[in-house]
Structure formats: structure tokens, C-alpha cells
């Protein structure tokens, strides 16, 4: 069943390949327009470049083109492909599941609709479609029920939904109804799948969908600012053994150099509400 193309049966409902393909194009346009409106509304581009100009004045050295290219590659391989930005390993793993699942789901949907719209037997891409949906479901529900910061740190109940949940809820609804429709094939489930897809891609302006575009840009900028000496005014990196004799450490000079002060707060889950 998971190797059967779910879109092949849509002809029975009177939905032609052209209609499916037009729907995909419409969704892509909705995302493009939504992201542009989002950027214009929040003026993120303005603040992004203003911050860079301000920090440039503090830079101690000029970065070469080779260094910038290297940082761009590092940003892609680290922050983008492995979600290294996340401090919490559980959130990082859940995000990786959601991200790769979503990419697989969207990519295989496009391939199935444009290349195999009426062919039920497309095992490779159909399998990827189902796998992608399953990955988003596992990572997404894990995040939704226990890792969401408003549930974990604020102590809110999971059903206390706000505007910030628009993206995750519409994403989960899309893949859940999509998978259920593929398994049971009812018209009602297909209708719910389409509605949630429209909400997901049509609500970019109101949801946090656009984070997948501006987060890599912010990560790249951060790398550059750390390398050019401005460091966003942050202190330099110190090693404990090197600084224990400095005057600001004088009050604690009798503490053994290898002593650790407990697990510190970072090792605790942030849920002491």
C-alpha cells in the first residue's frame, strides 16, 4: 500500500492531472507571495542589513571571498542540513525528522503529480511520499505534545493553541490527513487533506513558515560576525585553566582548577514553571 501512488486514484473523483498540477503551482505561488509580504511587513531585510552595517564598524579584519564561501558551505552543512543551531538534542532530532520528512513529502508529491499523475505503480516516489509523511508525524507530534516551549517551559496545556501554532498544526494536519487518505481513500479525508494543505501554504504571511528561509541567512550572518572580529560585542573565548590566575578570578583562587560546579542550569530541562 505504501508503494502505491495515492494521486493516481483522483481521476475517479473527476480531478484531472491538469487540475492537480495547477493546484501545486498555486501553492508555490502562495508561498512566494506569503514570504515577500512577510518580509515587507516585518522589515526583516532592513534590520538584517542594518545590523550587519553596525557590526562592520567593529570588525577587526576583512573577510576574503574564500572565507565567506567557506562559511556559506559550513552554514549549509551545519545549521541547515543538521539543524546544529538547536541547543536541545531532543528538539534538534525532532526538527530533523520534520524537516527531512517535509522535504521528502513535498518533493515526492511534486514528482508524483507531474510525472506519474495517473500511474498507480510508482513504488520509489510513493514510498518516499509515505516515508516523508511518517517522519513529519513522528517528529511533529513529539514536538507538539512535549517539546513545544509553551508546553515545556510556560507550562501551558497542549490544547491551548495560539497563532504561533498555525504552522505546526497545519503541517501535522496536512501529513496526517494525507496519510489517512492514502490508507483509507475516502473523499472526506481527501477534502480535509486539501483544506489543511491550503491553510499550510496559504498562511505563510501569518504563520512561521518563512523561518526556513530567514533562519539560514541569520546563521550565515552570525558566522561572519564571529569571524570578522566584531563578535557582536561578545567576549573572546577563554579556557578555564588559562584564566584562573587572572585578577578577576582572585576571589576563587583556592578552588581546584579541575573543579566543576555541579551540572549548571543548562543541563536541566527548562521546565521549572
Amino acid at each position: 500500500m505504501i508503494t502505491t501512488n495515492p494521486f493516481a486514484g483522483l481521476a475517479e473523483l473527476g480531478i484531472t492531472p491538469g487540475m492537480m498540477q495547477a493546484f501545486v503551482v498555486l501553492m508555490v505561488l502562495a508561498v512566494v507571495v506569503g514570504v515577500i509580504l512577510d518580509v515587507l511587513h516585518k522589515k526583516s531585510h532592513k534590520y538584517f542589513f542594518e545590523h550587519e552595517e553596525r557590526m562592520k564598524k567593529l570588525a577587526t579584519r576583512e573577510l576574503s571571498s574564500a572565507e565567506k564561501t567557506s562559511m556559506l558551505i559550513q552554514t549549509i552543512t551545519s545549521e541547515v542540513l543538521t539543524s546544529s543551531e538547536f541547543h536541545n538534542p531532543k528538539r534538534r532530532f525532532a526538527h530533523l525528522l520534520k524537516m527531512y520528512g517535509f522535504v521528502l513529502f513535498v518533493l515526492s508529491s511534486a514528482v508524483l503529480i507531474f510525472a506519474y499523475p495517473t500511474t498507480a505503480n510508482a513504488p520509489f516516489w510513493s514510498f518516499l511520499w509515505h516515508l516523508g509523511a511518517l517522519m513529519v508525524i513522528v517528529g511533529g507530534y513529539w514536538f507538539f505534545f512535549s517539546l513545544r516551549v509553551d508546553v515545556q517551559s510556560e507550562g501551558n496545556q497542549w490544547w491551548n493553541l495560539k497563532k504561533r501554532d498555525l504552522f505546526i498544526v497545519s503541517l501535522l494536519a496536512t501529513v496526517t490527513f494525507g496519510l489517512l487518505w492514502s490508507l483509507f481513500g475516502t473523499v472526506v479525508l481527501f477534502g480535509l487533506f486539501i483544506i489543511s494543505t491550503v491553510v499550510l501554504f496559504g498562511s505563510v504571511y501569518w504563520s512561521k513558515f518563512a523561518h526556513m528561509f530567514f533562519k539560514p541567512a541569520a546563521a550565515y550572518q552570525k558566522r561572519k560576525l564571529m569571524a570578522d572580529g566584531s563578535r557582536e560585542n561578545l567576549p573572546p573565548f577563554y579556557r578555564r585553566a588559562d584564566v584562573l590566575d587572572q585578577s578577576t578570578m582572585d576571589l576563587v583562587r583556592d578552588i581546584p582548577k579541575d573543579q566543576k560546579f555541579g551540572l549548571c542550569i543548562m543541563k536541566d530541562e527548562p521546565k521549572h514553571y
Partner: protein, 159 residues
């Protein structure tokens, strides 16, 4: 100088929400990023600034007394067990400070006061409080002084 969050840096981890003693760091209803709910009530303790693993929280200097690029930034390095500060003055002068992290895990190292020996009559009459800092503590029945600890007063360091 209340704190504020660079939302593009914040990853919504919730450490600032957890640590804020005023309970004014919260998660935004639209973007699921932290923000300072009530800057007027911020007592500038820097707990959130230090706790943030993304360096996404900064302190807003009021323009009337700290313009011209003043900055106070901090990096809390758990691996090395140290906390480093960079103070940038209005004149552009930079002062770097480092100190060990002494924070203990939540709920640990809470003294079991029932097991602590009661203070002597002399200690009761003293002006010093129980659990005073090390150099003036009373747990050996006497005052710790700079001399008894082999320390010297030096400029810039006060006990």
C-alpha cells in the same frame, strides 16, 4: 536597561522563560520566540542574558545615558565552567572579565538546616548572619579575616 530578544537569533528553547526571577520572559503568541513581556518590571539581573545559549538576548541601553555604542555582553561557557563578560564603554574602551560558574543544579545543594549545629550564644549576639560569605563566615566559631586566609587587600577587590 531592560533586556530584549533578537528574534532571528532565538530558537525558542525556553531557558530565559525558566530562569527569569520576575517571570517576565515569555514566548510570543505569534512567532514562538522569547520576548520581554514587561520591560518596566525588568530588574536587569542578566539571568536570561547569561542563560541564553544563542546570545539572542541583549540589554537595551537608554539613549540618554549610554548612547554611542555602549554594550554589555556575556558568554556563559558550560564546558569550561566560566562566565566571560565584555563591557564596552561609551569611549570605546573595552573591559573583559571572567569568573567561574558557581550555579548549582535546580533543587540540589539546599542546606538541610535541621542538621546544622545551632549557633553559639556569642554567634547569636553577633551582627553577622548565618551563611555569610566565606571570608566572614562563623562556622569555625571565629571570624575569617584577610590575614587568617593569607589574603591582602588590593585595589579593585573588596570583601
Amino acid at each position: 536597561m531592560p533586556t530584549f530578544v533578537y528574534m532571528t537569533r532565538c530558537d525558542g528553547c525556553g531557558y530565559c522563560v525558566d530562569i527569569c526571577p520576575s517571570d517576565i520572559m515569555h514566548i510570543d503568541d505569534t512567532w514562538r520566540r522569547a520576548y520581554n513581556l514587561e520591560p518596566d518590571m525588568c530588574w536587569e539581573c542578566y539571568s536570561c542574558v547569561k542563560a541564553c545559549p544563542m546570545h539572542a538576548i541583549d540589554v537595551r541601553g537608554y539613549a540618554d545615558f549610554c548612547p554611542l555604542g555602549h554594550a554589555v555582553r556575556v558568554h556563559r561557557d558550560e564546558e569550561e565552567g566560566i562566565i566571560a563578560w565584555r563591557i564596552k564603554f561609551r569611549s570605546g574602551r573595552i573591559k573583559d572579565l571572567v569568573a567561574p560558574i558557581t550555579t548549582k543544579p535546580w533543587g540540589k545543594f539546599i542546606p538541610d538546616l535541621k542538621q546544622v549545629a545551632p549557633p553559639t550564644e556569642e554567634q547569636r549576639k553577633s551582627q553577622l548572619l548565618f551563611n555569610e560569605p566565606k571570608y566572614i563566615r562563623l562556622d569555625d566559631g571565629d571570624l575569617y579575616t584577610l590575614e587568617s586566609q593569607g589574603l591582602k587587600m588590593r585595589q579593585g577587590v573588596y570583601y
